[in-house]
């Protein structure tokens, strides 16, 4: 992609800026769709109707919401740490957005085709933790700080199973490059890593239960990392008002919101790329190609957005000790077993 741009515009800073802005072109419309989907699904699960007035069945409501947030007064608490308060939402968004750089949206487009893609995404998403702590502390509000502390503890704990689950995928594909991992799984639904990947039949059958477990754990840990129900202790509305973004309003709140939805897609994208073939078509070579690749990638990603929303409006919130139990005593041991078993199967 960058090469293509370079051929048009020459080697200038401009090229890189355009390349860096491209995921934004995806995130903004995606966020509108996701917000609408979230609200509509929440409503229909609860047998309500949700937005009905703005546009056909309220499809323009997210746009109206954004316009409202843009116009809103930007309140800053009097005793807040003004500088950090202003910085925090952007830091969170940067952490999320930086992750998009290594996501292969299609066989033709990846922001930065670095060899350490998986590792890179895990690393930059840790910026989000700092941003959350910053927001919580700068607000000078005890609920915000509680939310931030919980969130940080949670994200740090769940980074362990996430990283281990990534290791499983990396062991099978032999690459940390997400584009390579996606390519590895091309050629039909049977080659996806959830179903054992394109290995010899015996190995594939042996490996399948372990990859499947890893896939589920990765997805759950991902939900925990983006602080969504049932792992939304950081924003527990009934306990902490709104957690770390209690004091935010207007544009800064909109950025938090955008970052949350972007993060949801990032998690889905990682799960999709590592275990569900990324941009690879489920029908082998049929319906494949750069544009179809983009379509498949977004379709799979949106499916996981759907599942995340579905889970959110179904399950209640976990208790703190249950949260830690799930991470340390269930996910992590299971992943160790998976890593060991898969390593053994691959070596033999």
């Amino acid at each position: 992609m960058i090469e293509l741009l370079k051929s048009f515009l020459g080697d200038s800073l401009f090229v890189y800026l355009i390349a860096a802005a491209l995921p934004m072109l995806f995130i903004l419309p995606y966020a509108l769709v996701a917000v609408l989907l979230e609200m509509k699904m929440a409503a229909h699960i609860q047998d309500r109707l949700a937005y009905m007035y703005t546009g056909w069945h309220g499809v323009l409501q997210p746009v109206a919401d954004i316009l409202k947030l843009l116009q809103k007064e930007n309140t800053v608490p009097h005793v807040a740490d003004k500088f950090l308060f202003a910085l925090a939402p952007y830091l969170i968004f940067i952490g999320t957005y930086a992750g998009f750089a290594a996501i292969p949206f299609s066989s033709a487009y990846i922001g930065s085709n670095i060899d350490l893609g998986v590792f890179y995404i895990v690393a930059v998403s840790s910026l989000v933790v700092i941003g959350i702590i910053m927001a919580g502390w700068a607000s000078n509000n005890k609920w915000s700080l509680f939310g931030a502390m919980r969130s940080a503890a949670q994200i740090v704990s769940y980074e362990v199973p996430t990283a281990l689950a990534l290791v499983v995928a990396v062991m099978i594909t032999g690459s940390l490059n997400l584009q390579d991992i996606a390519k590895f799984q091309a050629g039909g639904i049977q080659n996806w890593l959830v179903f054992g990947g394109p290995l010899p039949l015996l190995q594939k059958i042996l490996i399948m239960p372990f990859t499947f477990i890893t896939f589920i754990i990765l997805f759950l840990a991902g939900i925990a990392e983006v602080n969504r129900t049932p792992f939304d202790l950081a924003e527990a509305e009934s306990e902490l008002v709104q957690g770390y973004n209690t004091e935010y309003s207007g544009m800064k709140f909109a950025i938090f919101y955008l970052a949350e939805y972007a993060n949801m897609f990032l998690v889905s994208a990682i799960v999709v790329t590592l275990f569900l073939g990324g941009w690879a078509s489920p029908f082998g070579n049929a319906l494949s190609g750069p544009l179809w690749g983009f379509f498949w990638f977004v379709a799979k990603g949106m499916f996981f957005i759907f599942v995340q929303i579905w889970i959110r409006w179904t399950l209640p919130r976990l208790r703190v000790d249950q949260l830690m139990y799930t991470s340390w005593k269930v996910m992590t041991p299971f992943l160790f077993v998976c890593i060991f078993a898969i390593g053994l199967i691959l070596v033999l």
Binding site: M41, A43, H44, I45, Q46, D47, R48, L49, M52, W310, I311, W313, T314, L315, V330
Partner: protein, 213 residues
């Protein structure tokens, strides 16, 4: 159960119960909504729903019973007695009206929709309707004035009453003097008859425009 068994059972339960819940919510995604688009679509109210009060002032005989029944005192009624020579018409139930009603206010903001005012009404002129959307920006707009008498009408009615009262008083005075004369002339003949005849049409002086707080 052993610890290990409990551990695995817990994990199984976590997935199983989550799956049960998610199946339920998934089915609910496709059930029709139970809520409605309220201002556009409205639920049918039950037949005897109690909402905004309505007074058919043409039927009101000014008996003040609704006002007395009201537990929150939201009904204010003033009446002016009609004079015998006036015909105030009859109600739809055929009752003869004897009182002008210059003031019939209902402060619907105070109303508690108990419906107690409806039952005592002898002419069934105060009723509860099914109108429930009558919010206002100014609270004073919620005082509904049902009287149809113009200030001139009220003035006229008052004057007429005054005149008739004066006449009655004069008559009474005349009657009294006559009675006194008669008493002097023939004690204990027509004396009891005169008060009995005058009493209903000659109330105490403060009766007209009886005010209720």
């Amino acid at each position: 159960m052993s610890e290990v068994k409990i551990y695995f059972n817990n994990i199984w339960l976590a997935f199983y119960t989550a799956a049960v819940g998610m199946r339920r919510t998934f089915l609910h995604l496709f059930t029709p909504a139970v809520t409605i688009q309220y201002p556009d679509v409205k639920l049918k109210l039950p037949e005897r729903a109690r909402n905004r009060l309505y007074v058919n002032i043409d039927d009101c005989i000014g008996c003040d019973q609704c006002s007395m029944a009201c537990p929150v005192d939201c009904i204010t009624i003033q009446t002016i007695k009609g004079t015998p020579d006036q015909d105030l018409g009859t109600t739809s139930t055929g009752q003869k009206k004897r009182l002008h009603v210059p003031l019939f206010d209902i402060d619907i903001a105070k109303c508690c929709y108990c419906g107690l005012c409806v039952y005592p009404c002898p002419t069934e002129c105060i009723v509860m309707t099914d109108v429930y959307e009558f919010s206002e920006y100014d609270r004073s707009n919620l005082i509904y004035r049902y009287s149809i008498m113009t200030p001139q009408d009220i003035e006229q009615a008052k004057e007429k009453l005054k005149k008739s009262e004066e006449e009655a008083a004069a008559k009474k005075a005349a009657a009294a003097t006559a009675a006194a004369a008669a008493k002097l002339a023939a004690p204990a003949t027509s004396a009891p008859a005169a008060p009995a005849k005058t009493e209903p049409i000659n109330p105490s002086p403060d009766a007209p425009g009886q005010a209720k707080s």
